[in-house]
Symmetry: C3
Subunit: 241 residues, 3 copies
């Protein structure tokens, strides 16, 4: 296998994958988790989706990585889709971990329930800097529903406000949908960050991948925090040829 | 954590939770399982939904219980919803275990498939005392589908006819839907007491809870019989802050 | 319990069940896996659905088997439905393992997504002998998604082209739908051979069984290859009274 490149979602930065990288490494799989532009504590937030994508492409190219298993989590799914358009020759397989697979021409905000979009719109307007922070009560119940309260608090402390522009940018994904890069969808079965059913991750997002491999594991949207060992194992199953 | 109060569903009484209480206790969690009015062997059946609710409220208040994790199973979901309206200050969290979360103004019968409602209507008319008893063949296949035949028979012997009026009473749930009590939905993933899909427990019932915590476990509608140790563990995960 | 009769799906023959039979046997359950007419390496392909059914009936009757747990996998579901019409008195229970439960008057092709049907139509026309072979890329991603590449290749080598006529034959299933033979649906939860959701195995197929028992296990459409020990255990749970 190649190198895992792990692309975080909203509010996270590359450090979210620290434990997962350790478990992948202990099984002989090198892994690398760059932080997107506009993300991470104390970084400037004035980015759009293009800058997020470009920062990941640059991190991969600068390191000379090839034969990549490119993993996108949540919002990160929109980024790995665009990364795959730019450097398809470096990517051995795409893995979407409860991640957005947007329809061509859509933004992330176009594909979440209207009540979620309204909440994010309001929060971004109140933020003063066009960012959105997930409220703790929602984080605790809907994102780390498989964690104890201490873990919920500790991990919440690792988050930082999400620049909202990349979530609003409508993406041209025609090239993505023409690629024949192998792809997997890894579904954590208790993930309710998107409400199950009509608006759920699976099979709504996964079905858009055409021929894809499904891998499932128990857990919430945040298995990199609540079960990094199990996640590493399932990433290997999702990422292998 | 507080005290678990476990509210049984149709055909059951408080003794259905005996093994679950033992497992909760062995992990340091006190638990109490009252029997609703009109339920239990040899009790008179002439009750309505209000009497069911009042009997649970009385059991809680008489014992002076506070900081309650109030768990409702199946029909018990309709009762804990109304209990929460009466004594919200005593309830730390609501847990719906494959339970009805009725829409305001609906009865339980309004929210089951028409073929089920027709069967219950017929059985109640034939009963002579406005009760319904689940036929053994349905119990064995659709309620304890994860049990062996001996367990299916033994547990069927613990059931008693369900007063039908509480299932027909339309409930005013406006106050319930205004409460901000934290709530969880615990889903046993092989439960087919309601048919999966359009009429299924999850996400049909769970989605009505607004912001809620999802916890899942393998098993049938009757995990208190078929896997009480696993149920106790998942109740702790569903019930913690 | 009785004897398990295991009926394979498309592209397979009776040898697909070799390991499952070994595990069933080690737990004291005799099992037998006939190969349908028109299936197996080097067998002539000019069969229709009736010949497939008759060959299984003959295999059962010749061996004098009674008290059968009749298991159908995938396409095999259409065959066990018709076998049950012919020899209901020999069948103790039907088990559908991610199998087709066709509507009366339908063919298998009528009940798969239009894009799948179009692919099969094209492949059968190109075959020269009215057969269809699943492409390896689809086998690897959508059928044995829980296998490693070596297992995917090895098992693909055990397949042979499927006669297409039996998939196109429209079946009269009125008698099947009048039978009261107990029935179970065993669902491998990561099966994407049919796309989950609108076209998925469960609950679309299972719901047609009326009162049925649901049993679930992790895994792909091909758990007889990827987890025969787990499959044997779940067949026992699905097959018991």
């Amino acid at each position: 296998m190649g190198t895992f490149v792990l692309v975080h979602g909203a509010w996270h930065d590359g450090s979210a994958w620290d434990q997962t990288i350790r478990h992948l490494g202990s099984q002989g799989h090198p892994a690398f988790a760059p932080t997107m532009a506009g993300h991470g504590k104390s970084q400037p937030r004035n980015v759009d989706h293009r800058k997020c994508t470009d920062s990941i492409v640059r991190a991969i190219v600068e390191r000379g990585l090839r034969d990549i298993i490119l993993v996108g989590h949540s919002f990160g799914g929109t980024v790995v889709s665009k990364v795959a358009e730019q450097i398809p020759e470096r990517i051995r397989r795409l893995v979407f971990l409860n991640a957005f697979v947007l329809q061509d021409g859509h933004s992330l905000v176009d594909e979440i329930p209207p009540s979620h979009a309204a909440l994010f719109d309001r929060l971004s307007q109140e933020s003063g800097d066009h960012t959105v922070m997930v409220p703790f009560s929602i984080w605790r119940e809907s994102f780390v529903n498989d964690a104890d309260l201490e873990t919920a608090r500790r991990t919440y402390g690792q988050l930082s406000p999400e620049p909202y522009q990349p979530c609003q940018d409508k993406l041209d994904l025609k090239k993505f949908y023409s690629l024949d890069t192998p792809r997997s969808f890894l579904n954590a079965t208790e993930d309710i960050a998107l409400p199950p059913g009509e608006w759920g991750w699976h099979p709504r997002m996964s079905a858009r991948l055409g021929v894809y491999r499904l891998v499932a594991m128990p857990g919430s949207h945040e298995v990199m925090y609540t079960n990094p060992a199990g996640l590493a194992q399932k990433l290997i199953e999702a990422g292998r040829d």
